[in-house]
Amino acid sequence: MFKSKIKSTLVASLLAFGVSGGLVGNFNSAQAETYQLDTQGAHASIQFKISHLGYSWILARFNKFEGQFEFDESKPEASSISITVDTASLDSNHAERDKHLRSADFLDVSKFPTATFLSTGLKSVNEKKAVLSGDLTIKGITKPITMDVNWIGGGDDPWGYVRQGFEGSVVIPVGEYGMMDMGPSAQEVEILVFFEGVRPKG
C-alpha cells in the first residue's frame, strides 16, 4: 500500500511536471497537486453514524486509513481522490460491538480487510461546494455513490507545507453492502469524512 502510494505520487509529480513544463499556456498554469491525507497528524477522520432504535445515534470511526487527492483551486473539476480504509480498525468505543461489526455479519474484516473509495468525477456547485461521484467498495461490493463535499479552506501551513481541507458526507443503505439487518431504524448509515491533505510547498 505504501509502495503504491509512492508510485502514484511519483506519477502525479511527473504529470504535474509535464503540465507545468510544456503546457503552461494551454492550461492557464493550472496544475493539479497531489496531497496526502494527513493521517500522520490525525487531521483526518472517517466516521459513520447510524441510528440506535431510532432514539439516538451511534458514532464510530475507522482509526486507520490512507488516501491522496489531486486538487487545483482554479480547476476543481479535475480533482480526484482515492481512499483505502483498514476495516479492522473500526472503533465504536465498545469492544464487544466492534467485534460483532468486524464479523461476517457486518464488515467481515478477515475476508475484506479494506474498503475503498475511488472518485470518478466532481461537479462544482459553488465556490466552496461540490458533488463528488465515485465508486465505494465495502465488503467486496462496489456501488457508485455521490457525495456532497465542502472545501473548508487551504493554504500554507507554518511548517513548510501546503494544506487543503475538506469535509463530505453520504448516506448509504447498509443492506446493499451485505450488512445484517439491525431493524427498521437502522437501514441507512451516514459516512462522514473530514480531512486535510498535505504536500510540500513548491
Partner: protein, 221 residues
Amino acid sequence: MLNTLENYGWLARLFHWSIALAATGLFGLGLYMVELSYYEPAYKTYPSLHKSIGLLVAVLMIFRLIWRLINLAPLPLSSSAHSNATAIKQVLEHKAASMVHFLLYALPFALFLSGYLISTADGRPIFVFDMMEVPALFPPSKGMEDTAGLVHEIIAWSLAGFVVLHALAALKHHFINKDRTLKRMLWGEQEPSQKTKSVEKNNLTHDKKPKQETLNIRSTP
C-alpha cells in the same frame, strides 16, 4: 465427603455434575446467543446470563481444582490383564484418560480467561447478574476482543470434543467393561450390603475364573 482410592466423595461428585450441567448449558447458550437478531428480547439478557454463569463456574472450578489437589483421586478400574497386548492397551487407556482429565481441568480456565478478555477488552467491567461488578484487570487493548473471541470459540469446541470423548469413555466402561467407573461418579460408594456381595463375588470369580474380563482388580497405571 472425602474421596477414597475407590470412590468419589459427595463433594467431588457435586462439583463434577454441577459443572458438567453448567458447562453444557454455557456451550449451548453461547452458540445460541450469537445468532440472535437485534430486536429479540434475549439479545441482551442471554449474553449477560452467559457471562454471569461463566464467572460463577470459574469460581466453582477454582474450588474444584483445589479440592482435587488436596484430595485423593480414585484409582482407575482395570480388568485383569491376561496378555501383554491387553496390559499395554490398558496402560495406554489410562494414560489417555489422565490426559483428557487434565484437559478437562485446564481448558475451562483458558475459556474463562478468553471470555473475560472479550468483555473487558475496552476496560468495561462484567456484571454478574446485575448484582456484582467484576472489573477489567488488564489495560484496554485494541483488537484484544477479536483474538480473545477466536480463542474462546476454538477452545469451547475443543472442550466440547473432549467432554464427548470423556462421556463415551465412561459409557464404554459401563456397557462394555461393565465396571463401576460411571456408577462411582453417579452414586459414589456402593451400599455396604452390595459392596460385600460384590467383593465376595469378585473373590469367588477370581478363584474360579481368573481370566474373566469383568473382574474388578485395581491397578495403578
